[in-house]
Amino acid sequence: MNAYVGTPTSRIDGRAKVTGAAKYAGEFAADGLLHGFVVEATIARGRIARLDTSEALKVKGVIDVLTHEHRPPLADKDEAWKDEVAPEKGSPFRPLYDDRIKFNGQPIALVVAEDWETARFAATRVRVEYEQEAFATDLESERGKAAEVDQPHKPRGDAAAALTHAAIRHEADYVLPSEHHNPMELYATTAVWDGNGGLTVYDKTQGVQNVQKFLCSVFGKKPDEIRVISPYVGGAFGSGLRPQHQVVLATLAALALKRSVRVVLTRQQMYGLGFRPLTIERVALGAKPDGTLDAVTHEAIAVTSRFEDFSRNDTGWAEQLYKSPNSRYSHKLVRLDVSTPSDMRAPGAATGVCALECAMDELAVALKLDPVELRLRCYSDRDQSEGLPYTSKQLRECYARGAEAFGWSRRSPAPRSMRDGKELVGWGMATGVWEALQMPVAARIVLTANGHAEVSCAASDIGTGTYTIVAQVAADALGLPIENISVRLADSSLPQAPVEGGSWMAASSAHAVLGAAEEIRRELARYAKAMPASPLAGVDVPDIILLDGAVAKAADRSRSVSIADAMRHGQVERIEKEKLNEFPEDKSHARNTHSAVFAEVKVDEELGVIRVTRVVSAVAAGRILNTKTGRSQIMGSVVWGIGMALHEETVTDHRFGRIMNANIAEYHIPVNADVRDIDVIFVDEPDDRINQLGIKGLGEIGIVGVPAAIANAVYHATGKRIRRFPITLDKLLE
């Protein structure tokens, strides 16, 4: 049955992408297309006292300059501005709404011109006067103002008392800096005016239907007046979950001018979008001398904006990983004059688990225990927050397979005890954990008598490989070669899908396809059985499968009818089925993916230079639909984890409340030289409880644990514990 699922199938959109045939949001053409350039605020807080656009308007080729004083109506209720992913609490940012400045880099005007260069030039001619107000952008100086937010993890036992009495105790602050997503593709929208008040909006987004509903509510449009399309996305990593400024601005301008408008943000302007918030993670662990835990407390203090409470689950991951009778978690926010943070690959876990896993390493050192052994002694077969078993949890196997592949048994435990020439060698490890989420998604399949099927769904493919896995699942379910499957995604007029995020889209879209294919199978089976002298006469429909372009008896494949014949006799040219798949609610089990990450670093101690020479990531994430794209997901995540450990940091000058490295020359991410051997191991994890195919999703688990494994390796190499990330060489030299 599975000719494709579980195999290393190449991306079906690969050719289109490398040849440039794949079109991105900023590449769609339209007659008379205008171009917008964003003018941003240069103060962190206050109001616009005067906005003079007269000079800009005089520039030849400029059509208009939209501002809060000069624009079509925008919704005035917060509810209208709340998209699917907006934080529950707060008042979402509204571009060009009024004279308030809420963060540095906020869009305050859109210059629209015949071409982009003219718009960009004229933008320098917009004069702004501000009334500045006192502002704060520094979490560490405002730490005292942190306020608690609700957290999903209940306290258990008396963690404070248990900590006081613990034989071995470790407590420390770990600081994870703000980071920006920096997807390769710039944020862009091309809003195409249809001449009658309707718009087709090509947008860079992780959720076309989210953007479509949002635009309709913000601009008071009927659902059929706005269609949002986003066929290809050049990376987003969470930054495209919420509708971004440029889509509001392009739509605003198109409606104002009744023309098609494109807005592309610059790299620098993208630093005014969401970000992974700077978080101070305080972790305390109390253990018995044998290494079992008595108490875990984890407090996170993170940045949010003044106008929305963005928080993710940084704390409480120990509930899933490590047995402990006592625990307490709290998540606090400090509101600052910044844009609202946003999800970024494994939000909460990438940071929170990093702190937890560094703390576990420190505890292992204090206990003189091997770090893997400590984790095995604390291993929990249940999610302790609700006391639930897992649908599957092969984390033990991840430790074993990862350690084996890495050669962990050859590690000499003492820090500074391993060398390679001038370099100190460090081996570190950490655990990763993420959720296995699944959402309602609908898919439509149209099968034609020539044995070709088109599968469609509004889900996005943000580069993760959704096109390909949808085709794989459809090909297997319909018994067709993958070349006969075409896939249409990311058009708001297609069957329902939520934003692509949380690693839920693989499981969710696959089961939607499976559902629609099942209806097609039943219909084909009916036609086939009804044929005169049918070889399938008397075979029950459940015993009939689709295979090799034919409708066949499962137990005796020689009894079959070609799809073409079945459809001819059914007198149909095409069969169209749409199915909304909803996963049955099951609160009896916890659903998670896990990983064990092992890292080797080589450190030139005198000069502080760190090289990550090897990473082994052993991942248990249910059934891997596509081992090729799946491996790519994990490799990309590991690279990003290297960046989190050693390079990435958004740097703000708090005197100006401005980000000072808003470009990818100075905001460092790993380059090729920083990435050496990465070994990805998928650990078998059969799971017949989570869903029919046993899929858990892979988009995020790969980054969790990587920064901690590297930090722990740096400690093992040097004996220096750097708790403020990224681990740059000046910190090692201190």
Partner: protein
């Protein structure tokens, strides 16, 4: 970005004429620095004078046995030029330590010498910066100055010169050939870049209306005992926190001529004749190298975030001299530091 006129210079004299005719004009060669700065509105030339097609692309031997390198030779071509690889491998190595392959393909020798600081305030027109807008103040002084200078700073600017190539050229004792309204002149590379003093808006001593036509390398290339070591925040494609160009003449273990220059620490490639003199006649040992490093770093001062550079520079100098001594220069392809 502002609007600008565009002219293509037909020869060097034409470029000089065009420069004289428009005080707001700027030369453009590879454009890899100038265009970025124009996009950020830091540079707002009224006219771009395109010199990229001028015949300044030759690498020629000079009568005294040195080399003359045209100002428009692309950085990549220079790094892989057989005469450079064989006779001036220190220069090749320094060039390859900079930027990326794509940028080096576009970047010219003249543009590389003229590239401006990467101080983030200089790039952000909303913040005070004496270099960009004289008299507005220096935001880095009490701000984010982790990447800033520790030597030769002034009260008005603590920016560094970001060029790798220039560090090697300083060590090799290169000359800069200049053409201008009043004819031709030649200055030592070490006198080409300025210290900020009270005029940080002037990076170099190139006069208005002047154009770099070539650089000249003296005959001695130190092809045996040399190394260029660049320490940065990732293993490639980042500007130097500290870089060292070292070149030695060795007889046995005794040092004859010694050259030493630092990058990433000052407004210009940092050389100290005293430090080099202290090495001459000495044995090539870590102790002597440490002493030379101390001399080279004499007077180094730190601001709030860049103190680590002083010790880092000291260690890097010793290591680079060791690499040079053992004729195992730092590889720019393999990032392990020998």
């Amino acid at each position: 970005m502002n609007n600008f006129q565009y002219s293509r210079a037909s020869d060097v004299a034409d470029a000089i004429r065009l420069l004289a005719a428009d005080p707001g004009a700027k030369l453009i060669a590879g454009g890899t620095n100038l265009i970025d700065l124009m996009k950020e509105n830091v540079e707002r030339p009224s006219r771009l004078i395109d010199i990229s097609r001028l015949p300044l692309r030759e690498v020629e031997e000079t009568p005294d046995g040195g080399l003359r390198i045209g100002a428009l030779v692309p950085n990549s071509d220079l790094a892989y030029h057989p005469l450079i690889e064989q006779r001036y491998p220190l220069l090749a190595s320094a060039i390859l330590a900079g930027a990326s392959a794509q940028l080096r393909n576009m970047a010219s020798v003249g543009g590389n010498l003229m590239q401006r600081t990467r101080c983030s305030y200089f790039y952000d027109t909303t913040t005070p910066c004496n270099k960009r807008s004289p008299g507005t103040g220096c935001s880095a002084m009490d701000g984010l100055n982790r990447n800033h200078a520790i030597l030769g700073t002034s009260n008005s600017c603590i920016a560094t010169n970001p060029s790798d190539m220039s560090v090697a050229l300083a060590a090799l004792g290169a000359l800069v050939h200049i053409a201008g309204p009043s004819g031709l002149r030649t200055i030592a590379l070490t006198d080409f870049h300025r210290l900020p003093e009270d005029k940080p808006h002037l990076d170099t001593n190139l006069g208005s209306g002047e154009i770099i036509t070539a650089i000249e390398l003296p005959p001695h290339g130190f092809a045996r005992n040399y190394s260029y070591l660049k320490i940065r925040d990732r293993l490639s494609y980042a500007f130097a926190l500290v870089s060292v160009a070292a070149a030695l003449e060795l007889e046995g273990n005794a040092i004859g001529e010694a050259r030493l220059a630092l990058g990433g620490v000052a407004h210009k490639p940092w050389r100290s004749l005293g430090a080099e003199a202290a090495l001459r006649g000495q044995a090539a040992t870590p102790d002597h190298f440490g002493r030379a490093a101390d001399l080279l770093l004499q007077g180094a001062t730190a601001r709030s975030h860049n103190g680590f550079k002083i010790e880092l520079a000291r260690r890097a100098v010793v290591r680079t001299l060791m690499q040079a001594t053992s004729a195992t220069p730092q590889s720019q392809a393999h990032k392990k530091i020998a």
